[in-house]
């Protein structure tokens, strides 16, 4: 298990997490290469099936990062995103994948260090949980060549 490098998909709102990632970059903060970011125009753009599909296609963990509550550019997108994440967590429990592999975070574009912290937090969590039950077969050998 020590060689296990999780694959984590981060759905990031353009207005906060995505910019915070940029900031983390310019601050030369380190965050794990396990994170693959997907930019969303708003965290509220996330759909139940997108989260499930990420797992189906090989993610060991997934998170959605939106603006601080009350600060959504589209007013309630991040609140809706959180509700969908909660719903899919239950679904993942039912599916035997485990709801713990999915999380919702809130941060602002000024929070570069927090972005790196979340990335670390999620990577640690997924490392502890081990590969997704869907990936068990290849987990030991697989190494993803993609750059962070």
């Amino acid at each position: 298990m020590s060689t296990f490098e999780p694959r984590i998909i981060a759905f990031c709102c353009y207005y906060c997490a995505y910019s915070a990632a940029d900031l983390a970059g310019s601050m030369r903060l380190q965050y794990p290469a396990s994170i693959r970011m997907i930019e969303l125009p708003c965290s509220g753009k996330i759909e139940h099936n997108m989260l499930l599909t990420a797992f189906e296609e090989g993610a060991d963990g997934v998170y959605v990062a939106g603006c601080m509550e009350g600060d959504c550019h589209y007013l309630k997108g991040n609140i809706r995103a959180r509700k969908r994440v909660e719903y899919v967590k239950k679904l993942l429990d039912e599916l035997g994948i485990g709801g713990d592999r999915l999380e919702m975070f809130n941060l602002s574009s000024a929070m570069g260090p927090r972005f790196a912290e979340i990335a670390n937090e999620m990577t640690e969590r997924i490392r502890a949980l081990g590969p997704s039950p869907l990936n068990k077969a290849h987990s030991q050998t697989e190494k993803d060549g993609e750059d962070a």
Partner: protein, 222 residues
């Protein structure tokens, strides 16, 4: 609209356990509006079933389609090719849609993915409430547009009963007493005196006692 709620995944998965190719069919009618069986839910269910089976080491292929309505033969006919290619079909329509599929494709196993609950409407986003019991002879004209058959827990016609308290139903304090509502409505319209008349016993032969009901319009028969 008809309001339906999706069955537990485990029940649906159990019913398709021998299949390798599964067609999941949604309906663009009522169940799209009550957010349980439209295109979105079709995709979520198909992905969920694939994940379950992949995890169990018995992966399946899924195909999906959401028909305009599943309770119309014309739309159900369009599925022929996809049904042909599938081992079994999972329907996310109400019980009517499931039966239309089963009638049209008698050689296929058709699995319902919903529990069809009632006919009603949206009271707020994400909440649906029952409004009509399909009694076959509507009395809303006499009751101020409030149905005592479905909204009175005891379906009584000469209410309220002795359990009505502070406008609430004794069966469930979250439920308004239908007869308090009816009285309030008729009073607002100056028609409350009509409640002095006793409602005669309802003719339930118009309802479900005589087997499945049928409605025919001679002038539109082809």
């Amino acid at each position: 609209m008809i309001v339906a709620e999706q069955k537990p995944l485990t029940e649906i998965a159990e019913n398709i356990k021998d299949a390798q190719k599964v067609l999941v069919v949604g309906c663009g009618g009522c169940v799209t509006v009550c957010l349980s069986g439209g295109q979105k839910e079709v995709d979520i269910l198909a992905t969920s079933l694939r994940i379950l089976r992949k995890k169990d080491g018995t992966p399946i292929d899924t195909a999906t389609e959401t028909l305009e309505r599943q309770c119309d033969k014309e739309y159900v006919d369009k599925l022929a090719e996809k049904v042909q290619a599938a081992d079994c079909v999972v329907s996310l329509a109400c019980g009517v849609g499931v039966q239309y599929l089963a009638e049209r494709y008698p050689d296929k196993v058709i699995i319902p993915a919903q529990n069809t609950k009632f006919i009603g409407g949206t009271t707020e986003h994400g909440i649906w409430e029952e409004r009509c019991a399909l009694c076959g002879e509507c009395i809303l004209a006499q009751t101020g547009g409030i149905c005592p058959i479905i909204r009175c827990s005891k379906s009584i016609l000469n209410g309220p009963c002795g359990g009505s308290q502070g406008g609430k139903c004794e069966v469930n304090p979250d439920t308004p007493c239908a007869w308090t509502l009816i009285y309030g409505q008729l009073k607002r319209q100056g028609r409350e005196a009509a409640l002095g008349e006793i409602f005669p016993v309802k003719d339930w032969s118009k309802a479900r006692d005589g087997g499945p009901r049928k409605y025919v319009r001679e002038d539109v028969l082809l």
